[in-house]
Structures are given as structure tokens and as C-alpha cells.
């Protein structure tokens, strides 16, 4: 397993949508293992998408159990061709990204999602019902596969605590 260098903006590869994986090759299984190693190498990293390590393929790894606050989660997940089937609810939370160093922003996303995909290690279809922080991480990583960064979804600067007032409000 290798720790891969992480691409950061303005690397144009991050903005390119990735095509579906047609079959799960041994290279993909190796890439997944390397992405997991890379995720673990970065202390606060809870998810990584293949474009972040320079590969335009639809592959993500997530492990929310690494996060210091307790969240309901499925532990360590590797997913190829992930697809959001349904989503509902809304939540706004602060996000950061290894590919956008030193920046965080508030993003509004679905509270609950149903995700399908293939676990390349087991060559098995997965159906995951996700909510809360884990659902947010999956939406963030799947966005990467479509060339979308959280900067494209930031809902407000710095903080939502005080909405900027108009002069007389």
C-alpha cells in the first residue's frame, strides 16, 4: 500500500467528471487500498475520492469512525460507481477538503441518503442507508467524481450565526 500525493486546486483534474468503472480490475483494488492508506495518513481525513489522487475513476473511500465525535456510521467503506438513489432532509455544516487546503465553509446537503455501489474488494453490491455526518461525507466524495468541490456549494462565508443585516433591519 502506498500513500499517494493529493491533488489540490487549481489542479484541473479535480474539475473533470469521472466515467463509470466498467469492470473491477486488480488495479482498482490496489488503488482502493492506496486510497485507504492515504486517507489514514492524514489525521482528520474521513473520506477520499479517486480524482483527489489523480485518477479520474468513480471510486471513493470513507471512514467516519475516524472522526473524534461519535456519529452513527458503517465504519470503513470502499465504493466503486457510487450512486445516490434517494435523498431527503437538509442540514448545513462546515466542510473542509484535502484538495482545498486551509479553507472551510458551510455547505447545505441532504440529511439522509440511500447509496448504491460496488465494494471492489468483495466484488459485491452494497446498499447503504446513511444519515447525518456520514451522509454528508458521501455526498462530498461523490461530488468529487462529478468534478464538484465544496467551494461550488458553499452557502455562506465564515458562519451562518449572524446573517448580514441590511442597513435598517
Amino acid at each position: 500500500m502506498a500513500i499517494l500525493p493529493v491533488r489540490t486546486i487549481p489542479d484541473p483534474l479535480l474539475k473533470i467528471p469521472s466515467p463509470q468503472l466498467r469492470n473491477i480490475t486488480p488495479e482498482i483494488v490496489t488503488l482502493a487500498a492506496d486510497m485507504c492508506a492515504t486517507m489514514r495518513h492524514h489525521p482528520h481525513c474521513v473520506g477520499l475520492a479517486a480524482p483527489q489522487v489523480g485518477k479520474n475513476v468513480r471510486l471513493i473511500v470513507v471512514d467516519v469512525s475516524r472522526y473524534h465525535k461519535p456519529h452513527s456510521n458503517h465504519g470503513h467503506i470502499v465504493l466503486a460507481n457510487p450512486r445516490i438513489i434517494t435523498s431527503d432532509g437538509r442540514r448545513t455544516g462546515r466542510e473542509g477538503c484535502l484538495s482545498v487546503p486551509e479553507f472551510t465553509g458551510n455547505v447545505t446537503r441532504a440529511e439522509r441518503i440511500l447509496v448504491e455501489g460496488i465494494d471492489p474488494r468483495l466484488a459485491k453490491d452494497l446498499h447503504l442507508e446513511l444519515d447525518g455526518f456520514e451522509a454528508v461525507v458521501f455526498q462530498h466524495e461523490i461530488d468529487h467524481l462529478d468534478g464538484i468541490l465544496f467551494l461550488d456549494r458553499v452557502s455562506s462565508i465564515k458562519t451562518d450565526i449572524f446573517r448580514r443585516k441590511t442597513a435598517d433591519s
Partner: protein
């Protein structure tokens, strides 16, 4: 000015960052009987800046308040400017505006802020909050803007996307969301 109407001042402060600036400024305001209403304070690398909107007591005007800051300006090397706000300025512009978030990012080059803000100014779009950050070769700018109600988002976005291609940056615009829970 009517005796019972509030009068305000905007106080801007800039100086090299260190512990104690906020305490020094607010001590003067407190002793003078001012009440801080809204404020924004931040550090940019080594510089600290604040804007404070304060409600002034009846017998204190902005010129007198400015004088109270003279010792601080001299002793602590702070740039302090007090500007009186008239009641009519305070009342300006009840929301004929729609708040939007604009994000711009890509490889840094001179002129990004100017070329985007020029487009906004020409369409009477008001910028209310901006943060820019340069890290290595990457440049990120986030703006909160107010669109005149009669300006269609679609046409503004089309102009911005054209500029994005010319500048080789990514530009996104979307309404500011404030979900009520």
C-alpha cells in the same frame, strides 16, 4: 437631531495583531458610555482589523469620540477612524435585494478581484462580504452579494461564466440559504 433618536458611529481600527487590541478599543467605548451594536473583527496574516457600530450617548458626537482615541493611536500604533452615521444612512435600502453567494477559484493571477467586481458594479450588484485567500498558486474568493430584484440571476451568471473562461477560473453563484429549523 431629535433628542430621543439614537445616533451611531462606525469605528474602524487597524493595526499589527497582538493580544489586547479589542480590550483597548472597547474600554474607551465603554468608558464613554457607548453601546456596541454590531461588529466584525478579523485577523489577516499579521494585521488585525475591526469595524464597530456603536450607539453613542446623547452628548457625545463622533468628533469627540475620535479625540478619545488619540492616546491609543499614539501609544499603541493603531489606525482608528470614527465616522458619524446619520439617521438617513441608517435607514437606507430595505431589501430590494436578494442575497447570493459567489465563489471564484483557480490559479492566481492579477486582476481577478477587479474583473469580477467590475462586472458586479456595472449591474448595481452590492458586495457585502468578501474573503480572498491565496495559497501557493491557488486563489479562492468568496463573496456575499446582493442582487437588485430586477436583475435576472441567469443573465448575471452568463456574464460571469464568460469572464470565468477568460480568467481560467471557476465561478459559481447561488442564493444564500437560511434554513429555519
Amino acid at each position: 437631531m431629535k433628542t430621543n433618536s439614537k445616533h451611531f458611529a462606525a469605528i474602524s481600527v487597524m493595526g499589527k495583531d497582538r493580544p489586547g487590541i479589542v480590550a483597548s478599543i472597547t474600554r474607551v467605548l465603554f468608558k464613554a458610555g457607548c453601546n456596541i451594536e454590531d461588529s466584525s473583527m478579523t485577523r489577516l496574516r499579521s494585521e488585525f482589523a475591526m469595524i464597530v457600530l456603536a450607539d453613542l450617548p446623547p452628548r457625545l458626537d463622533s468628533a469627540a469620540l475620535q479625540k478619545l482615541f488619540v492616546p491609543l493611536q499614539e501609544k499603541e500604533g493603531l489606525s482608528i477612524l470614527v465616522r458619524g452615521i446619520t439617521a438617513t444612512e441608517e435607514k437606507r435600502g430595505k431589501s430590494a435585494w436578494k442575497s447570493h453567494m459567489l465563489s471564484v477559484y483557480g490559479a492566481d493571477r492579477p486582476g481577478i478581484v477587479y474583473r469580477i467586481s467590475r462586472i458586479l458594479a456595472a449591474r448595481r450588484v452590492n458586495i457585502t462580504d468578501v474573503q480572498t485567500n491565496k495559497r501557493g498558486s491557488a486563489y479562492v474568493m468568496l463573496l456575499e452579494i446582493e442582487l437588485p430584484k430586477k436583475l435576472p440571476l441567469k443573465s448575471l451568471n452568463a456574464t460571469l461564466q464568460k469572464e470565468a473562461r477568460a480568467l481560467h477560473v471557476n465561478i459559481g453563484i447561488r442564493p444564500v440559504e437560511s434554513p429555519q429549523l
